[in-house]
């Protein structure tokens, strides 16, 4: 199993690397197009800001590499958001893999804190990625921007309003939460990504 984690300027790669290692997989962390395109599975992590991340991806032509990928590909948090069409975060055009735009949470209720930080439930689970995961399991979220529910939604959650906790189109998967920080539920999701024969919808 050659698992590549894409290296760019929106990291938090260490936790993910260790989470994979706990599952017996040593990821190759690289920004090399050849390595990415020959991987068995690819993870696109992300903690950071959308416009600087996109700028960096373009400077390395990783935007073109990512959209060419045919293998199972998993974006996490900002990684998932960058796979959408556009992000409201600094008005950033994104990769356009998922047909959803990314918006800033808005609430008239001042008790709703932004960013959302903490454990929220995931439901309406519709993918092999969630095999063995119970409806309304808790995952760890840290974010201020979100994607609406649409045709590519494979899991939903609710903060301010219902939104996409995970998206899937063909070989491309994205999760808004951090599986690498979501205790045993997250470990199972990463394990599914590694082991499941992820079928294109």
């Amino acid at each position: 199993m050659k698992l590549v984690m894409i290296k760019y300027n929106a990291g938090n790669t260490r936790s993910l690397q260790y989470a994979l290692r706990r599952l017996g997989v040593e990821p190759l962390i690289t920004d090399d197009a050849e390595e990415i395109l020959t991987a068995d599975k690819i993870i696109f992590p992300g903690v950071g800001e959308a416009s600087s991340a996109m700028k960096y991806l373009k400077s390395k032509q990783l935007d073109q590499v990512i959209t060419q990928v045919k293998q199972p590909f998993l974006g996490i948090c900002l990684g998932m958001q960058l796979m959408c069409t556009h992000s409201e975060e600094n008005d950033t055009p994104c990769l356009g893999i998922f047909d959803e735009a990314v918006k800033l949470f808005k609430s008239n209720d001042s008790s709703i804190k932004i960013p959302q930080i903490g454990w929220n439930t995931i439901g309406d689970l519709k993918s092999n990625l969630f095999n063995g995961i119970a409806e309304n399991s808790h995952c760890y979220f840290v974010h201020s921007y979100y994607a609406h529910i649409g045709e590519h939604t494979i899991a939903t959650t609710d903060y301010c309003s219902p939104y996409s906790a995970a998206l899937n189109r063909n070989n491309f998967y994205g999760v808004q939460f951090h599986p690498e920080k979501s205790a045993v539920v997250g470990e199972k999701i990463i394990e599914n990504f590694i082991n499941e024969d992820l079928i294109c919808r």
Partner: protein
């Protein structure tokens, strides 16, 4: 639904966990990594590691410890103590910390908050504030682990910190810390009502009902140390109790 968080705090000195009563009289409560793994397995929602002696001893980082923690545990954790620069933070985040907390250094150089938020995002910047109520009824900011008083009101500093980019406030009432008589509802509620980011209440949690009182409409998370370290409150029992009190909790882990 977003749940409220229970956060054990591991105060670190010389690589071991310690917890003082009112910040003095330190006691030794074990290896931080072992304790962290135990708490994660018991359902702790997050962990905080604070090097309480860092400011005075000028210890720069806990990078090695952070790396060991990241290898072992699968829940988020925050690291604080002696952090005073963008480079300090980069090192800790690179070693696997999810968030960092800043306290005295941010007060002395508020620009640090702006720099960290711009460089790493607000989501990883926790502003820790130690506060104490004076005879005039106002709550004031204290520095250096509570040893140095300031004339700045806690609420004013919290509002400024969030404006500059802090993504969370970790608020410790020195009047309540170590007393096991309950969290500081008044100041925590005041800060929570005036800032738009999550508030972690700290200091005074001695019984499950104290956690219910502070999490019910006041704080987003509750932090405690010695009651967990010495087994006076078990995390699974606490979370089941809070669930029964209709506080949203993560119970399946």
């Amino acid at each position: 639904m977003l749940t409220k968080r229970i956060i054990p705090c591991l105060d670190i000195k010389n690589g071991r966990t310690v917890k003082g009563t009112n910040f003095v009289d330190l006691r030794d409560a074990g290896d931080p990594v072992e304790l962290a793994a135990l708490y994660a397995a018991q359902g702790a929602d997050e962990l905080v590691f604070l090097d309480i002696t860092a400011t005075n001893e000028k210890r720069k980082t806990l990078a090695e410890l952070v790396d060991r923690i990241a290898q072992r545990i699968n829940i988020p954790f925050t690291v604080g103590g002696g952090i005073s620069s963008v480079e300090d933070v980069r090192l800790l985040l690179d070693h696997g910390a999810d968030k960092i907390s800043i306290n005295t250094s941010a007060f002395k150089n508020p620009n640090l908050i702006d720099q960290l938020a711009a460089e790493f995002g607000s989501q990883c910047v926790v502003l820790a504030i130690d506060t104490k109520q004076h005879d005039d009824g106002e709550w004031y900011v204290y520095l250096n682990g509570g040893r140095v008083a300031t004339e700045t009101r806690c609420l004013d500093w919290a509002i400024e910190g969030v404006k500059r980019g802090a993504g969370e406030i970790l608020l410790t009432s020195m009047d309540h810390d170590g007393t096991k008589a309950g969290f500081a509802k008044e100041i925590t509620g005041l800060v929570s009502a005036h800032v738009g980011v999550p508030i972690i209440a700290s200091g005074g949690g001695g019984e499950p009902k104290h956690f219910a009182a502070i999490l019910d409409g006041i704080a987003d998370a509750a932090l405690a140390a010695s009651v967990f370290h010495f087994g006076e409150i078990s995390i699974p029992d606490l979370k089941h109790y809070l669930d029964e009190q209709n506080i949203p909790m993560r119970l399946n882990y």
